[in-house]
């Protein structure tokens, strides 16, 4: 666990930030963990309310009265990591407390992977350096929080591409092909995985159309695909000694960094295959043994974890 030691005092519970909402209505639906219908032509608009006890912040931080603050919102995608400031405004304490309704829009064509949005309360001006434990540089972060939204290619949202298998030289009558880079589990999941859907297959075409329009009854095909992805990806990792070594090196899945292949496998195991109160290491060892002993039983565990075939029954 990383603990950041700040070189100055920071406020204690003086900022009350409500959850981000999707769209421009600060009372609208909560920002979901993922936006499955996102593509790079889709801008992401979100809003939230923030209340700041400005006098309390000044007091906690040892700042002079009526100091200038700055409230800003920045975002970056896990793919390029290039940050963009979406909102920035300076203000002083007026009557002790202030409330701000933030509405920001991230431009779709700059995004990809996972979108991270950070709200920051900062010192808005340079102060004389008088006390070693009081912020004095403009931009010094006094408070911040972060949220992440999966847009594509991480966790449950994998990049999918429709393609003619006949032209691509893949088995013409198959439904899909889960394309994976082999070997390096520290590679970013984004780009290492691609699910190809066969546009030559009538059932797949129909299912894609149903997904696009929402006008046709749900199909069981996607449930089969989910089983295939989890079985292939987790199974391949369990069979590979390099994955066992990567388990230690891999970072936190939710740490805002790009999700690695190893991180994705671990997330799938945690989500679908770990038993209650079982540690991740124990789950991995149990599943590895199970798969070596009886691959069919391993697949049965995947079915049970996913709840397959739930879409067929609904």
């Amino acid at each position: 666990m990383i603990v950041r030691a700040w070189p100055y005092r920071r406020p204690q519970e003086r900022v009350y930030a409500e959850a981000w909402r999707l769209g421009s209505d600060a009372m609208g639906d909560l920002l979901p963990h993922g936006l499955p219908h996102w593509d790079c032509n889709t801008d992401v608009t979100m809003s939230r309310l923030i209340q700041i006890d400005v006098n309390g912040v000044e007091e906690d931080c040892g700042l002079p009265a009526d100091v200038l603050f700055r409230l800003s919102v920045r975002c970056w995608p896990s793919t390029s990591l290039i940050r963009r400031t979406l909102f920035s405004e300076r203000f002083r304490a007026c009557g002790g407390k202030t409330a701000v309704e933030l509405t920001v829009t991230a431009t779709g064509e700059e995004l990809g992977g996972r979108l991270i949005v950070e709200t920051l309360l900062e010192l808005g001006e340079q102060l004389p350096y008088t006390d070693p434990f009081v912020a004095w540089r403009p931009g010094s972060v006094l408070w911040s929080d972060q949220v992440g939204v999966h847009l594509e290619g991480a966790a449950g949202l994998l990049p999918v591409a429709p393609v003619s298998f006949r032209e691509a030289g893949l088995p013409e009558r198959s439904a899909w092909y889960v394309s994976m880079d082999g070997g390096d589990w520290q590679q970013a999941a984004m780009g290492s995985l691609l699910v190809l859907l066969n546009t030559d297959n009538a059932a797949v075409r129909k299912a894609m159309e149903a997904e696009r329009t929402g006008s046709i009854a749900p199909t069981p095909l996607w449930a089969f695909l989910e089983v295939d992805i989890v079985t292939d990806l987790v199974g391949r990792a369990l069979d590979d000694d390099a994955f066992a070594e990567s388990e230690i090196a891999d970072g936190d899945v939710d740490g805002g960094e790009e999700l690695t292949m190893a991180g994705l496998v671990r997330a799938l195991i945690r989500t679908y295959l770990a038993r209650p109160a079982e540690s991740l290491d124990d789950s991995i060892n149990r599943l590895r043994d199970e798969r070596r002993r009886d691959p069919s039983r391993f697949r049965a565990y995947v079915h049970a974890g996913i709840g397959f075939p739930r879409e067929v029954l609904t």
């Binding site: 593509d39 940050r83 900062e122 290492s192």
Partner: protein, 257 residues
């Protein structure tokens, strides 16, 4: 509307990279193409680039290479100048959106399908006859033969200037790599990178035995430490200039003492 580029499938990327080693030197032009059956486009979100546009992009980059001794071995100056010119051409002509440019399979297509001859010319095989995978496969976009040039152009480009690309030639290969490899702290903030490069350009005189490169490295290390608790992204250009100049003055004092 964004322009979508073909994404070379991972297995095909590996296969074509292995194939590079089997093609005799000077014959990679024969395997160049504007299309691969093992490449796919994103399902939605933009307009697919046409084969004609890919052919024009290939011709433009080939033309820049030819001006810098392609297909013969270039010297360091020719390689650096090729990089600068190509960064500009690639950025302007590809019309690639940042989201698309962050897809490493797009870059694998460009290096292994569209421009294998230029790629191996720019990053030839090592003494053991092996090509460096990062330069071709896009596993690290800050090292890929073309992705790193697009990213440099994207980060250093300043549309407010008469020549938006005026900062591209300021730093050499090693110094630019030093900045771009620190994606989270430095290169994630294009305005900060521009301020750093400008400060270096305007104040690069070595004094008291201080080398220009040492000044830059020390400055980057100090700014990197600051970004752990200072938000530079919301800062105005004037604030960034003040911050960078202040750090540079501190470095100069520290190196002198």
């Amino acid at each position: 509307m964004s322009v979508l580029y073909p994404r070379l499938l991972p297995a095909e990327t590996d296969r074509l990279f292995r194939m590079l080693h089997k093609v005799p030197p000077g014959a990679h032009e024969n395997v160049a193409a504007t299309h691969s059956q093992r490449a796919v486009f994103a399902a939605s979100g933009g307009q697919r680039v046409s084969r004609g546009d890919l052919e024009r992009l290939r011709r433009s980059i080939l033309s820049v290479a030819a001006e810098h001794n392609f297909p013969n071995t270039p010297n360091i100056a020719q390689r650096n100048e090729f990089d600068r010119r190509t960064a500009r051409v690639l950025y302007e002509q590809s019309r690639m959106a940042p989201g698309e440019a962050a897809q490493r399979q797009v870059w694998a297509f460009l290096s292994l399908v569209l421009l294998p001859d230029v790629s191996v010319w720019r990053w030839p095989a090592r003494s053991d006859g092996r090509y460096v995978a990062d330069r071709f496969k896009g596993t690290d976009l800050t090292r890929h033969v073309f992705a790193r040039l697009w990213t440099r152009a994207h980060v250093l480009r300043d549309p407010e200037q008469e020549d938006p690309y005026e900062l591209l030639p300021v730093l050499g290969e090693a110094d630019l790599d030093h900045i771009m490899a620190r994606r989270v702290g430095l290169a994630g903030s294009p305005a900060l990178v521009r301020a750093l490069v400008r400060a270096h350009r305007d104040d690069s005189v070595a004094e008291d035995g201080q080398t220009s490169r040492e000044m830059l490295r020390q400055m980057l290390a100090r700014v990197l430490r600051l970004t752990a608790f200072v938000d530079v992204d919301a800062a105005s250009e004037a604030e960034l200039v003040q911050l960078v100049r202040g750090v540079r003055a501190d470095v100069r004092r520290a190196l002198s003492s």
